[in-house]
């Protein structure tokens, strides 16, 4: 599904990603952990097509295509979804109108007719139920005045609407109460299929109690310094990142 090979990227001339390689196969859930500022969101931004991040080296292939050559909206229509760490507010634009435009752009891309208003509203209802999002949120402007947790739930709702092949969730669990965390995790689990994949960026093992990852990576200073099974998350929760930092430093010396 996704093959990242020796990816290097910088922002305003400052090197942030320093050679990342990663392969995500259909049906897999990958967790990415790592200290603040290590480059997790930057990696997500590169995958989603944010222009201010400059790719200086490496390749990314997605479903056999060169991802780095595609415009952001085309990546989205090809099935890449980014759950933003900080979702953006768009005043005056209703969630209904926003989602309808997005869903129909996706449909057009697939050669399908736009949904009728009633079919669309039915779809909204179904998905709202699926992810247990408060009905009222969908009647407001995009993220405007939403609480931190509501914004995160809204990202999951949008993911449910767009049915991506590869969803990258950037700290969607941060700032959520226990119930909301369960809702978000359930949302992911309900949308999980053998042919779609998730990259879940998180700081907390507790999310991974609900969403069982196949692989856990640790990103540190722009590099993936450790990759293991879900037990790695537990170890990190107990011991923090210091031991990994030490390992990395020793490796550099050695």
């Amino acid at each position: 599904m996704l093959i990242i090979n020796n990816l290097k990227a910088s922002i305003e001339g400052k090197s942030i990603l320093k050679g990342i390689s990663l392969e995500v196969k259909p049906g897999e859930i990958h967790a990415i952990m790592g200290p603040n500022g290590s480059g997790k969101s930057t990696l997500a931004a590169v995958l989603a097509g944010r222009e201010f991040v400059e790719v200086t080296e490496g390749t990314v292939s997605y479903l056999g295509k060169n991802l780095l050559e595609m415009a952001a909206e085309d990546r989205a229509k090809e099935g890449i979804f980014l759950g933003f760490q900080y979702p953006i507010e768009i005043p005056g634009v209703s969630m209904v109108n926003f989602m309808k435009t997005a869903v129909n752009e996706h449909r057009k891309h697939k050669g399908l007719e736009p949904l009728s208003a009633s079919d669309f509203l039915k779809m909204m209802r179904d998905k709202k139920e699926l992810v247990e999002i408060d009905s009222k949120l969908a009647n407001r402007s995009v993220n405007e005045g939403f609480s931190g947790g509501e914004k995160k739930k809204n990202e999951i709702f949008q993911m449910a609407m767009l049915e991506p092949k590869l969803a990258i969730l950037d700290e969607t669990d941060s700032g959520l109460d226990i119930d909301a965390l369960r809702i978000v995790a359930n949302g992911v689990n309900k949308l999980k299929r053998p042919d779609n994949s998730f990259i879940v960026i998180t700081h907390y093992q507790r999310l991974l109690d609900y969403i069982i990852p196949d692989v856990v990576h640790v990103l540190y200073d722009g590099r993936i310094v450790k990759t293991a099974g879900k037990e790695l998350a537990i170890e990190l929760e107990e011991k923090g990142y210091d031991w990994i930092k030490k390992e990395v430093e020793n490796n550099v010396i050695a």
Partner: protein, 482 residues
């Protein structure tokens, strides 16, 4: 509505001005230039009565004593009035009760603009008066309306058929001495619409006038007079377009509205005159005086304007709230892209008791556009319990454009409550990227965001035109980002 929105968002593919074509219609033009002789020729061409010629001449002589105002926040190239043609009309205008009598080229023009002149083809529930250059060429649904006593015709026809009404109301809201451009208009005005809604009648359809400048070097000076008698209601809409040309064209119009006791008038404008090219060459100079008089108690006048066109817009649709408990409203969206400039706003004059006014102004600037809101809320001494609420928002796309607000207040009554709010915001790259990430292209994202921003105003438009306005907003901002 929902479906139409999809269409808008997928429809749009080019950023060019769509109405910039020129039609080769056989025209009757007078030589260029302005003089007392020209004023007389215009009046003679229109076979006007003596009293109207006198009105014109009086206005012209007054105009000679006036200077062009300079207080607006606009850079205006000098206008040479001797280079302008003040009268141009499609030739051989018979009495056009039959569509077949219209020059086919003319009919094509309006078809191309999406304004078919055949009644059966037209939008259900909308009557149209079509004005090209200096004359009205066709008014639809005249007979249907006449059955209810509603008069809807060209200004010229009104002068002939209803001289008493014209005499009584013309100049009663905008006197011929009002301002430089209004005075010029009073001297040389050509055609426009006239509308009278009798006592107790709710006009069953939208009335609309469609203005088109076609000829080169020609100014358009239309004049519209709208009278809503006691207990009546009317919703009126005007639209405007012009061919793309390298030189600037002058448009100086007057609109006067009178609302008697318990009457309500909604006046909407979708102004899309040619804005000039991307380098700021050409475009219409739009200097307009629009004013409504809430004459009777409980009367209401509501202005809604979507201003996307013109190189320069100088326009302040205003309300004089003379009747007790009368209400004035002004809802505006003004877009300036490339090198367009707009100085627009309103004046609410509270004279009667318990009068209310609401002002919602949304400026959108892109490219090198300059957008100014200028408003005056004036509460006179005897206007007890006057209320005003003003909200002026500015949206900026890019960093070469400008937004300015000039709100003025003159309050001479202690009981008045006047509120003013203002915001300035930018369309962020973050917002656009968020849309991109959901599969929405940048152009569509801007359309979505801008329409969200302007929604409050667009919602005030009649349904049939709201969709058109949304589309227009998006088109006029194309190519403004990225």
């Amino acid at each position: 509505m929902e479906k139409d929105q999809d269409k808008i968002l997928s429809d749009v593919t080019t950023g060019e001005y769509k109405y910039g074509f020129y039609s080769d219609i056989e025209m009757d033009r007078i030589p260029k230039g302005l003089s007392e002789e020209v004023v007389r020729i215009i009046s003679a061409k229109k076979k006007e009565p003596e009293w109207l010629l006198d009105f014109r001449l009086k206005s012209y002589r007054h105009w000679l004593t006036m200077k062009m105002p300079t207080w607006a926040n606009l850079k205006i190239a000098p206008i040479n009035y001797q280079e302008i043609i003040f009268y141009a009309a499609p030739k051989e205008r018979k009495n056009l009760n039959n569509v077949d009598d219209i020059d086919p080229e003319l009919k094509k023009t309006f078809d191309k603009l999406g304004i078919p002149l055949e009644e059966q083809k037209h939008l259900a529930g909308v009557a149209v008066d079509a004005v090209i250059d200096s004359v009205s060429v066709k008014t639809t649904f005249k007979e249907t309306l006449a059955e209810m006593g509603i008069i809807f015709c060209s200004f010229s026809d009104a002068v002939k058929e209803y001289p008493d009404l014209v005499k009584r109301y013309m100049g009663s809201v905008v006197p011929y001495t009002d301002n430089f451009f209004a005075t010029l208009n009073s001297a040389v005005f050509s055609d426009g619409s006239f509308c009278y809604i009798p006592k107790g009648v709710r006009c069953p359809m939208e009335l609309s006038t469609y203005f088109r400048i076609n000829s080169a070097n020609t100014g358009q000076f239309e004049r519209t007079l709208l009278i809503a008698d006691e207990e009546s209601y009317v919703s009126y809409l005007e639209g405007c377009t012009a061919p793309s040309r390298d030189e600037n064209q002058l448009h100086a119009a007057i609109v006067e509205i009178v609302a008697e006791k318990n009457a309500e008038v909604k006046y909407s404008t979708v102004q899309n005159w040619y804005p000039g090219d991307k380098e700021g060459k050409g475009g219409v100079f739009n200097f307009v005086t629009k004013r409504g008089m809430c004459k009777g108690e409980n009367s209401k006048i509501s202005w809604t304007q979507i201003e996307t066109g013109s190189a320069i817009t100088w326009k302040y649709p205003s309300c004089i709230l003379r009747g007790d408990n009368s209400t004035g409203e002004f809802y505006s969206v003004a877009v300036t892209n490339n090198y367009q400039q707009a100085d627009t706003g309103t004046k609410m004059t509270h004279i009667g008791k318990n009068t209310k006014s609401t002002i919602v102004s949304k400026g959108i600037s892109a490219g090198h556009g300059q957008n100014s809101y200028r408003g005056l809320v004036k509460v006179l001494k005897n206007a007890s319990n006057a209320r005003n609420y003003s909200q002026c928002d500015s949206l900026l796309l890019g960093d070469k454009c400008g937004a300015h607000t000039f709100p003025y207040l003159e309050v001479d009554n202690q009981t008045a409550i006047v509120e003013h709010e203002a915001t300035t915001s930018k369309i962020g790259e973050d917002q656009i990227f968020y849309c991109n990430q959901r599969g929405i292209s940048t152009e569509d994202a801007i359309g979505l965001i801008v329409n969200g921003y302007a929604r409050e105003v667009i919602n005030k438009l009649p349904m049939e035109f709201a969709v058109e306005a949304q589309k227009l907003l998006q088109i006029s901002l194309e190519g403004s980002v990225g």
